[in-house]
Assembly symmetry: C2
Homo-oligomer: 477 residues x 2
């Protein structure tokens, strides 16, 4: 096993080493694609299970729409096709013949889903229509990075239709806050800023795009989820219309929203250290690993460890490392790399004293624990680890956030990394110039930002701004 | 809502009417593809949940491999490419450029997965390697039928590598019996024959293909799942090799196995009647529908119905039909079309007598039940319905199974429909001739068939056979 590169030495190498060391994924022989290995996929399954419950809890039903989208569908919404056509994979042959119309592989499914919505929706009684899909999507990727940017990735995409713009706006924000922010902060222990994207950064075809943004350990920001208020842009292109109570025809207003396997990249870069992956207990496929220091299954130590596993398994995902051919040190090292929140060791001298050793993955702290108190202690520690990971990430974000009121301050702050809060005009051309100069763009206008009274001027172009809040800027993934 | 065509009038129309009437799926605008609507997808989610647990229970881990397969990979196994190339969808352009090598969209993933296996497996200690994937696959379909044959479908595909051919053979049969047969019969209430496919019908690239076959109500057979012993065919093409205990290099022996959304088609055609879909309780997304005969939520009948729903929900999936703007008759009709196993009705006169009316979907039988006994009675009835659906399907299969010892008997039996049991030579040319004459092929050599002593001769060509058992023939989907 290759040693893990230190974050301070080479952050990109460190990221790849964490993935290889925990055996999460690898590059596929097809350029830009990845193979998600069993342990990586187990993390994704945990995410899917929790998110799926949360989404269903809002009354959203799952469905499945085709992988293929006729090119003509994509072209109906002008902004949409402009945004996505450079990234498309196109099927030109099927069943041994050239197709009459080429088919795009879905980069996202607004067009194919809303064509169906136009048939499913007749009257105001059919609204709101709220659908979710778990699927693979394809966006041709020039600079692929495992989990963060891959040509094919897995995601959920929610799609809704509402009677009014106000309802669509409310729904897009509800998903952002109740599902995405909550999931990121509570389960992934990853603090996020919720906010609105600039015109230049919004989804191709949306009226407004909302996002959650998380700060990674290298001071870059990761867009971890988006929720779009589509207005009636797609409804007009796809004739998603309904009869209102007065019998008049109206266009529906729509939302779409998604999170993807990219979240695994965010999870890795939020908590991991130079020893390997660190997983928050609520998302860890294995929460407790029990390692008996014994050479035979008949050893009383092994038997006691087995009992502990049964006892802990009634509430936690607890695994016994039964391998007899590896030294304890090798096992510790392996599970450390895999980010298991708690390691329980038990050897002959521990057993004599009716105790075990508990080791926390996040802090490395060791303690002895009486075997009969183990279950309670593990419960307490798992809660502490979950809270500590969030607190640590939040503290890091606070230490790497700063206001900038002049271009010089802005320039230096961006160079240092982290989040920079500045007044900004919101103009697309101005944003392009900033990007050119400092390779950073606006991440969002934060929903929870502080209103500052008075007149404000753009930190870059000096124009008077129309916002009372500061925008957040950062280098980004 | 269109009236459901009778099975006796037009079976194909009936099948489509069942799907439309229960709102399960529809044809997509892309030829051959389908949209799985929320209720149809909920059935698939139930199947996935149960199968996923059963598969994991065997120690198989889920993973995810790319959608795209380089054409050169498919060509490495000669039989495999011959079998699948007529059905491929091919991506020739990505990211706005023509690709150097065209990419096939996976029709099945042996090739892309075994290329990874060749890197993951070094020594006998890495075996057996057992992986499963839930994914979409694409096989270009000339005569699409919803759920039964669609260009894109959803499935699981298991892939394993073993040290010896015996282990692979045992594993392929274990999956067939412990997972596929068990799932089909216990959960779908769909009796199946387990057996081995003929040379002409086996999977392209396999050494042996095992299958489960179920009889549909029109007397045709549906291949509902397959499990392949691949021998070392792919291992040789993809260099899946390992060092054995003596340090010698050996090829692994492999299996692959899958079931798909086709199972939903099988489920529909096993139990549904002229009134609509009929679902076995163990696979029904909603097991009990409660319909209060009341016009207002404040009505004591409505309140009692709500209490019943809460009470039943602790063990079953029980739904209250809260709509006040529909007449009870319309509701009955709708839930009948959706195949809900049990309907509970309660009106003012029932409430006076502290009772409710229970109606079985399978038999249509009605009974009164004291409200305090409802939970127990529902439990009993759901078990009875599950058992009755299986028994009815089994009886139908028995009534539509016959032996044929001469070509005339065979010919007439095939024309009548159902399963025909005959001695057969197993020859590919002979099978092609039978197919040409009667449009039926061998379905399998049943694992549970009776050995008949003595010499046997092919029912078609008259050659002496090498099998003691009769093969099963039928027209097939």
């Amino acid at each position: 096993m290759k040693k893990i590169t230190k974050r301070s030495e080479n952050y990109s190498e460190w990221y790849l080493d964490i993935i290889a060391g925990a055996d999460l994924a690898e590059h596929a022989p097809v350029r830009g694609c990845m193979i998600i290995k069993p342990y990586g996929y187990a993390i994704w399954e945990k995410m899917v299970g929790i998110l799926d419950n949360m989404i269903k809890g809002k009354g959203v039903a799952n469905a499945y729409f085709p992988l293929f989208i006729p090119e003509s569908f994509l072209k109906r919404e002008a902004e949409h096709v402009k945004g996505f056509s450079p990234e498309l994979a196109v099927v030109t042959h099927g069943g041994g013949k050239k197709l009459e119309e080429p088919l795009a592989i879905r980069p996202t499914s607004e067009t194919i889903i809303y064509e169906a919505f136009s048939r499913w929706i007749q009257s105001y009684r059919d609204l709101p229509l709220v659908i979710n899909q778990w699927a693979n999507v394809v966006r041709w990727e020039m600079r692929p990075r495992l989990f963060l940017r891959t040509t094919e990735f897995l995601w959920q995409e929610g799609h809704t239709a509402h009677a009014t713009l106000e309802e669509a706006e409310k729904y897009a924000l509800m998903i952002l806050k109740d599902i995405y922010e909550h999931f990121a902060e509570k389960y992934l222990a990853m603090p996020v800023h919720m906010g609105q994207k600039s015109e230049g950064e919004k989804f191709a075809g949306a009226l407004k795009t909302y996002c959650i943004e998380a700060l990674m350990q290298d001071g870059k920001s990761l867009q971890a989820g988006t929720s779009h208020n589509l207005g009636d842009h797609f409804a007009k292109s796809f004739k998603v219309k309904y009869f209102n109570k007065d019998g008049q025809t109206q266009y529906a207003c729509q939302t779409s929203w998604g999170v993807s396997t990219r979240l695994i990249g965010g999870l890795i870069m939020s908590h991991s250290d130079d020893k390997g992956l660190v997983l928050p207990p609520l998302i860890a496929p294995i929460q407790v690993i029990i390692i008996p220091i014994a050479r035979e299954e008949s050893d009383p130590v092994f038997k006691e460890a087995k009992k502990m596993q049964v006892e802990l398994s009634s509430i936690y995902s607890a695994k016994l490392d039964e391998r007899l051919d590896l030294r304890p040190g090798e096992k510790y090292y392996e599970w450390e790399r895999k980010g298991i929140p708690i390691r329980v060791e038990i050897g002959p001298r521990d057993l004599e004293k009716n105790q075990a050793v508990i080791v926390r993955r996040d802090t490395g702290a060791k303690e002895n624990c009486q075997i009969n108190l183990l279950r309670e202690r593990v419960k307490k520690l798992l809660e502490e680890i979950q809270a500590n990971l969030f607190a640590t990430a939040l503290k890091r974000r606070q230490e790497n956030s700063q206001n900038a009121d002049t271009w010089e301050e802005f320039y230096n702050a961006i160079k240092r990394g982290g989040y920079v809060f500045s007044h900004w005009c919101g103009d697309e051309t101005c944003e392009a110039q900033i990007k050119e100069k400092v390779k950073a763009v606006s991440r969002c206008l934060p929903l929870n930002g502080t209103e500052e009274n008075g007149e404000h001027y753009c930190v870059h172009c000096g124009k008077k701004t129309s916002y009372q809040k500061r925008w957040i800027f950062a280098s980004a993934y």
